[in-house]
């Protein structure tokens, strides 16, 4: 038979539960959601995506956040964002573990949706970002020390990073061997950022800036 609910007499206990606990629960829930979505995170500014990632805005839509690329990465270089609009999307924290550029690109092969472009087949042509020396005064090599760790660790040594020697006027008899990044070759794998020996790396991967071409060739 019909079981009519008696809504007329709200007990003190129910009042407490529904009248006070519910808003409290809702506030707590909002705080939880806010923690996840409003925390400043990697979604702001440049995010180093796995090889073959399509342009940032479209990537965010195309990626279904399934994590298959991360599961395919043999070095666990690919991690998933845990906050913000990009939640669940893959990124590479190069300082922790950079991309080691597997020749067969298993991450790209794993991507179902085309967020990592299936046409990416050659690692040398990948453009995840471009390395930049962001603190020239901090860079030990530019200060004349024989460091150049970024250069020697670069998987595209002598192409993406070269050493440009010049006289060191401070000592008068030594060479400054300055690492120089060549953006037309740099794939943005982040091995240099990972290897930099300083506490805060002075070479980091930033957004790839399209090379502006003109006919001026000198």
């Amino acid at each position: 038979m019909t079981k009519e609910r008696d809504d007329s007499g709200i007990s003190r206990r129910r009042f407490l539960k529904e009248g006070a606990l519910a808003p409290f629960a809702l506030a707590l829930a909002a705080a939880g959601g806010g923690t996840v979505y409003l925390r400043p995170g990697e979604a702001h500014g440049f995010v180093l995506r796995p090889p073959g990632a399509i342009v940032a805005r479209r990537f965010l839509a195309a990626c279904v956040r399934c994590g298959k690329c991360a599961q395919a990465c043999p070095y666990h270089s690919i991690r998933l964002q845990d906050r913000g609009v990009g939640i669940g999307t893959p990124y590479i924290a190069a300082r922790h573990t950079p991309c080691y550029l597997c020749p067969d690109l298993p991450c790209v092969k794993a991507c179902p949706s085309g967020a990592l472009d299936q046409k990416t087949t050659e690692v040398e042509k990948v453009r995840m970002g471009t390395a930049q020396i962001v603190d020239r005064e901090g860079c030990l090599s530019i200060r004349g020390l024989r460091c150049e760790v970024c250069y020697r660790q670069c998987p595209l040594i002598d192409q993406a990073i070269t050493l440009e020697p010049r006289h060191n006027p401070r000592t008068g008899e030594h060479t400054i061997m300055e690492p120089v990044v060549h953006r037309e070759k740099c794939v943005g794998c982040g091995v240099c950022e990972n290897a930099c020996v300083l506490p805060k790396p002075v070479i980091v991967v930033r957004e790839t800036v399209e090379v502006q071409r003109d006919s001026y060739d000198f």
Binding site: C102, R146, V149, R152, T175, A195
Partner: protein, 772 residues
């Protein structure tokens, strides 16, 4: 900012004033300046043989910073990345701080008395039962001069055995023998100034860019300043040095022996030699040939004066006839035309030619011969003992020269170029040591490889290893590790961290390192550099000198070391200095070294250093008007040796088709005991890799970062492949580094050695390469 002389005097003045006020700690003896509560003192870098000077910043009894010393003449304030993180090498979490004694499979903490009493008891027992030659001490080119000196006096003058070796046997022995048999005195005539002053540099199998970083920076600056400067890299592997060289000449492993002979052939054929120089300074000699490779235990080979035949120049020329460039092309892989070209480079009177080499030549089963042949080039063309024109053998350890070579901690050596086989030398040593001459045995002790083989054979009962890591660095490592594991000898290891050697020891002693003690190092260019103790060693760790002297007391040889507790290092050095005076290896009083950033011996009567030896222009031992005089050589004549081509000990074949070579890299030093504790250097390079030629890799289906198994007749190891990285070996060769304690790559290496220098060949053996 560097310390000016004025700042220095002020610092001294302040120090004296503090002392007068009754405060000694505020201004320690070593302090030269203070800022922000950090007190700075000078010391040479702890790592390689370049000998950079660093300033060590101390605060609260701890090293808080190091920096390149702007007043250091070698580095002028610069460092390589290892030197930048120097202080961290001392502060790894797992420093050894207390003596440990083996109880079965466990190492149990012990007091110094327990440990030293045990060691003394074991040594006494072995000596009583088997004689003094059943015990040994294995030291290091990283020992301070004082440590090496005390070790030598204890073993040779006290215990009465020449079973004393330094690990420098593994790196510099070939250079030593060649210096001795060519010039009659160890160590180079030139110095680092030659890197600034010359215009042609021929690198024989040396990767200076990584192994001698700051020197390479200096060499390249000369090239940048002077367009004429030419850098020729002759090597079996393309390296970072190659990248900055003007020319790379690929050479087959062991091909140097052929190429050098062919270059000499062309120099003689085309009369590119300096007739007058040769007539005045050179005698020609032929040594013992068909030499063995040391692969059999106790294989004896010596080149005694009776074995040496004197030749006339004409005889020598005739002997060199068959070594044509065409022949050498086949053996070395260098095109005949290129060999002719190299001969003309060496013969070009308008060029100041320098040869530079290190382990490629020394770790060679005919290493002495290759050294000899390089000297031949310089002696025939007269390009020697002149500023900017010299052969320079680069060293690998901070005091391979100062301690191993000058103090003479080899099984056949006594200080200052003397040898145990020579009665007069023994007498001189015994005189200074205050012991009867017969106490010092004339019989040469066991050289390094033979020493560890003797453990395996059960002939050596006790070995004390200090400041080195042989159970990672010896060739054919499986044999020696197994011998140690089966506890065939009582093994003591003094070190600052647990290593692959301490794990095999019966007693582990915690040592003080670098500025935790006072000491003196001697670098490649004869520069002697002193430093004071600046901080205390952690826990119960004590310096090696103290360990040896305490041991000596227990052995009944305490009277040999009557040094005062305060000023002990000065007293030891001053006693050692007596050996050097008047020998052309003269050292300055200790107090002088305390003030300066090193001096290059021979130090002149007026206290200044010598940059170029054997020339009246700089060397006090050569009278004005004499020009060049090789005053250490018999009849003042240096030897040009005829050294034929003989094949290597092991050659790739069908089963083991690849050459295998080991070497160094910039980020880590030797077996990584110190650099492996620096997180930043581990971040930079975390593991040993194996370099392959891209075509070989493709043929074997190996891609970058694949796991690769390398197998030789002696061992097998899996390494990560590195293709197209910092180094690329020539086709048919693979290369790896030996710093990684998790990868004992020396298990692969053959224990063949040069018959004269007994230095093993870490650069050549046959392996197979498979994808793992």
């Amino acid at each position: 900012m560097g310390l000016s002389r004025r700042d220095f005097i002020k610092a001294c003045a302040a120090a004296a004033a503090f002392a007068a006020a009754g405060v000694t700690t505020a201004r320690p003896e070593w302090a030269e300046a203070a800022e922000d509560g950090i007190t700075w003192g000078k010391a040479p870098c702890r790592y390689c043989g370049v000998g950079c000077s660093v300033l060590v910043g101390v605060k609260g009894g701890r090293i808080v910073s190091t920096k390149g010393d702007p007043a250091g003449p070698v580095n002028k304030g610069l460092n390589c990345i290892k030197g930048y993180f120097l202080s961290k090498a001392l502060y790894g979490k797992d420093r050894l701080t207390t003596p440990l004694i083996r109880k079965g499979n466990r190492m149990v903490e012990a007091s110094w008395d327990e440990a030293l009493d045990l060691i003394a008891a074991q040594y006494k027992k072995a000596i009583a039962e088997h004689g003094p030659d059943s015990v040994a001490l294995y030291g290091s080119g990283q020992w301070t001069i004082q440590e090496g000196y005390v070790a030598s006096k204890l073993m040779k003058g006290g215990i009465g055995t020449n079973n004393l070796e330094p690990n420098a046997r593994l790196c510099m022995a070939s250079a030593v023998v060649a210096f001795m048999n060519t010039f009659g005195s160890d160590e180079p005539m030139g110095c680092y100034d030659d890197l600034d002053l010359g215009d042609t540099y021929v690198l024989w199998g040396a990767n200076m860019a990584e192994a001698h970083p700051v020197l390479f920076s200096r060499l390249i600056d000369n090239k940048l300043k002077h367009p004429k400067v030419k850098l020729i890299d002759i090597a079996t592997r393309r390296t970072r040095t190659t990248k900055m060289a003007d020319e790379f000449i690929a050479i087959k492993p062991h091909g140097d022996l052929a190429a050098l002979n062919a270059i000499i052939h062309v120099i003689l054929r085309d009369k590119l030699y300096d007739e007058a120089f040769v007539a005045k300074h050179v005698s020609f000699k032929r040594g013992k040939e068909n030499a063995p490779y040391g692969l059999k235990d106790k294989e004896a080979f010596n080149e005694t004066p009776a074995d040496v035949k004197n030749l006339t120049f004409e005889e020598y020329k005739a002997l060199m006839k068959p070594y044509t460039p065409q022949w050498a092309q086949k053996v070395s892989g260098i095109p005949a035309a290129k060999i002719e070209e190299l001969a003309r480079v060496y013969g070009d009177k308008s060029r100041k030619v320098n040869s530079l080499w290190t382990m490629g030549v020394n770790q060679h089963s005919r290493g002495v011969w290759v050294n000899n042949l390089i000297y031949n080039l310089h002696l025939l063309t007269g390009k020697i003992c002149k500023p900017g024109e010299n052969p320079l053998s680069l060293t690998g350890q901070p005091s391979a020269c100062g301690t191993a070579r000058e103090v003479g901690t080899f099984a056949h050596r006594l200080p200052a170029d003397m040898v145990v086989m020579n009665e007069a030398h023994r007498k001189k040593a015994a005189g200074i040591w205050g012991i009867p001459a017969e106490k010092i045995p004339a019989k040469v002790g066991l050289h390094t490889v033979e020493m560890f083989r003797a453990i395996d054979r059960g002939e050596l009962k006790c070995v004390w290893i200090q400041c080195t890591n042989p159970f990672q660095s010896l060739p054919n490592l499986n044999r020696v590790r197994k011998a140690a594991q089966s506890r065939k000898a009582f093994i003591v290891v003094s070190d600052i961290y647990p290593t692959r050697s301490t794990e095999l020891a019966d007693v582990v002693l915690p040592s003080a390192s670098w500025v935790e003690k006072e000491g003196v190092f001697g670098n490649t260019e004869r520069r002697t550099q002193q430093w004071f103790k600046m901080v205390n060693a952690p826990g119960k760790a004590r310096e090696d000198v103290w360990q040896l002297i305490e041991f000596a007391k227990r052995m009944g040889h305490g009277a040999l070391f009557p040094y005062p507790e305060k000023g002990m290092h000065r007293a030891i050095f001053e006693e050692y200095r007596k050996f050097t005076l008047g020998t052309g290896k003269d050292l300055a009083p200790y107090g002088v070294y305390a003030k300066v950033r090193g001096l290059r011996w021979p130090v002149k009567a007026n206290g200044t250093e010598t940059r170029w030896r054997y020339t009246e222009a700089d060397d006090e031992h050569v009278a004005k008007g004499e020009g060049i005089k090789f005053y250490k050589a018999p009849n003042n004549k240096v030897s040009v040796w005829f050294r034929p081509y003989e094949p290597p000990a092991e050659v790739p074949d069908r089963n083991y088709p690849f050459w295998f070579c080991t070497g160094r890299l910039l980020e880590h030093w030797h077996t990584g005991t110190m650099t492996g504790r620096v997180p930043e250097l581990r971040r930079a390079v975390s593991q040993a890799t194996v370099e392959l030629h891209p075509e070989d890799a493709k043929r074997l289906g190996i891609r970058n970062r694949d796991q690769v198994r390398i197998t030789s007749r002696r061992g097998s190891i899996v390494l990560t492949a590195e293709i197209g990285g910092r180094g690329t070996p020539e086709r048919g060769s693979v290369f790896t580094t030996f710093f990684d304690e998790k990868k004992l790559v020396n298990e692969i290496c053959i224990d063949a050695f040069d018959p004269l220098s007994k230095e093993p060949d870490f650069k050549k053996c046959a392996v197979k390469v498979q994808k793992a």
